[in-house]
């Protein structure tokens, strides 16, 4: 019975943030994504290098939408993405014959290791998966994928978080570095 009663959920959902907060999150994340996308589509156009990958959209939600979250802190953003990218690329290289296994191992192992290293960052799960299913553009990079776009992108998103979140009077970022 307990099993099923647990599914009902208890308690209410958290409050809605103020309109100011909603707009602030929107403006800051726009600027952050604009920077990454601009670099990606202009300076990196015609090269093999990438900077804009889907997991960064998810990171933006946390860093600019929930900067107080433990999941949004620099340790988690940078550590989580790099760790997950390493596991993802390795999984693809070792298990490319069994892509279903490479994909699932990449994500699951990343989650466990992020837990153990206190770097849990949900978007990094997407990075691990993307390392496997990202197609030729990603696979061509090999282990370089970890450095660029992943490490550079995560560092840029964090840097923008530090610069812009703190410009807002009621925001403070990060809560901690390490």
């Amino acid at each position: 019975m307990k099993y099923f009663s647990k599914m009902r959920g208890t308690g209410g959902s958290p409050p809605r943030v103020s309109l100011t907060e909603a707009i602030l999150s929107g403006v800051i994340s726009f600027l952050a994504m604009a920077l990454l996308a601009y670099i990606h589509y202009t300076f990196l156009a015609g090269t093999d290098a990438l900077l804009l990958i889907a997991p960064f959209g998810a990171s933006a939600v946390l860093i600019y939408g929930a900067p107080k979250s433990p999941l949004a802190q620099p340790r988690n953003v940078i550590g989580g993405h790099i760790l997950a990218a390493f596991i993802g690329v390795t999984a693809y290289q070792l298990l490319s014959g069994e892509l279903w296994l490479a994909a699932s191992v990449a994500v699951s192992l990343s989650i466990s290791l992020m837990h153990l290293t206190k770097t849990l960052h949900p978007p990094a799960g997407a990075t691990a998966l993307f390392s496997v299913i990202g197609g030729p553009a990603v696979h061509k990079l090999g282990f370089l994928f970890i450095l660029m776009p992943v490490a550079v992108g995560a560092a840029l998103l964090t840097l923008i978080g530090v610069l812009l979140n703190n410009a807002a009077p009621k925001r403070k970022y990060p809560e901690f570095w390490l």
Binding site: G12, S13, P15, V17, A66, K68, K170, R171
Partner: protein, 201 residues
């Protein structure tokens, strides 16, 4: 321990309080109200535990302790207790070991033929002319009526543990002894109640 913590819990925090508090803090909090409440309650528990164990027997005990020897006559024990206005004393043997405690209650029991549970019963028995001040008590010594072994505590015992001891054993005082079992003080219910370190941790 758990019931005691609940008992001194001052405010029953409601889900609405938590929700309101979360609204007061600007920005998105990545936690559900029920998780927050759980964290809050657990933190409160830890704080109470910390504060309670921070106050130790040494902080509240009386050092100038009145004691008797196990070979002392009851009349001398009674006289001493009357003179020093205490309702109980530790009993020491010849080797300075705390071997028991004598309190008013031990006297009641003895003088009412061992049945009385409180002072009024002694009075009642006396007035009914049943058992009243057994003459043999005049020749008795401390060892014969003391509660033994003595429930003792150490200087480092948390006051909350001493309080537990009082409640579980229905006693009002405990001699404080050092590692060798020698008397260094006494802690009473009154000491614990008086201790202002409770209200200003």
């Amino acid at each position: 321990m758990a019931e005691q913590l609940d008992a001194c819990f001052p405010v029953e925090i409601s889900d609405k309080d938590v929700f309101q508090a979360m609204k007061d803090i600007s920005g998105y909090l990545d936690i559900t109200p029920s998780d927050f409440k759980e964290v809050y309650l657990k933190a409160y528990d830890h704080a109470v535990r910390r504060i309670m164990t921070a106050v130790r027997v040494v902080d509240v005990m009386t050092r100038d302790v009145v004691f008797v020897r196990d070979s002392d006559f009851l009349k001398d024990v009674a006289e001493l207790m009357a003179k020093r206005r205490v309702s109980g004393v530790p009993v020491l043997d010849a080797q300075d070991q705390v071997v028991g405690v004598i309190s008013e209650r031990n006297f009641f029991r003895e003088m009412a033929g061992g049945s009385a549970k409180n002072f009024m019963e002694v009075i009642a028995n006396c007035l009914h002319g049943r058992v009243c001040m057994a003459a043999p008590a005049r020749r008795m010594i401390a060892r014969e009526i003391m509660s033994s072994p003595a429930l003792t505590v150490m200087e480092t015992t948390p006051v909350v543990e001493a309080a537990d001891l009082f409640t579980t054993n229905s006693v009002n005082r405990a001699p404080v002894v050092d590692a060798e079992g020698r008397l260094i003080g006494i802690v009473t219910r009154a000491d614990i109640v008086r201790s202002n370190r409770w209200s200003a941790p």
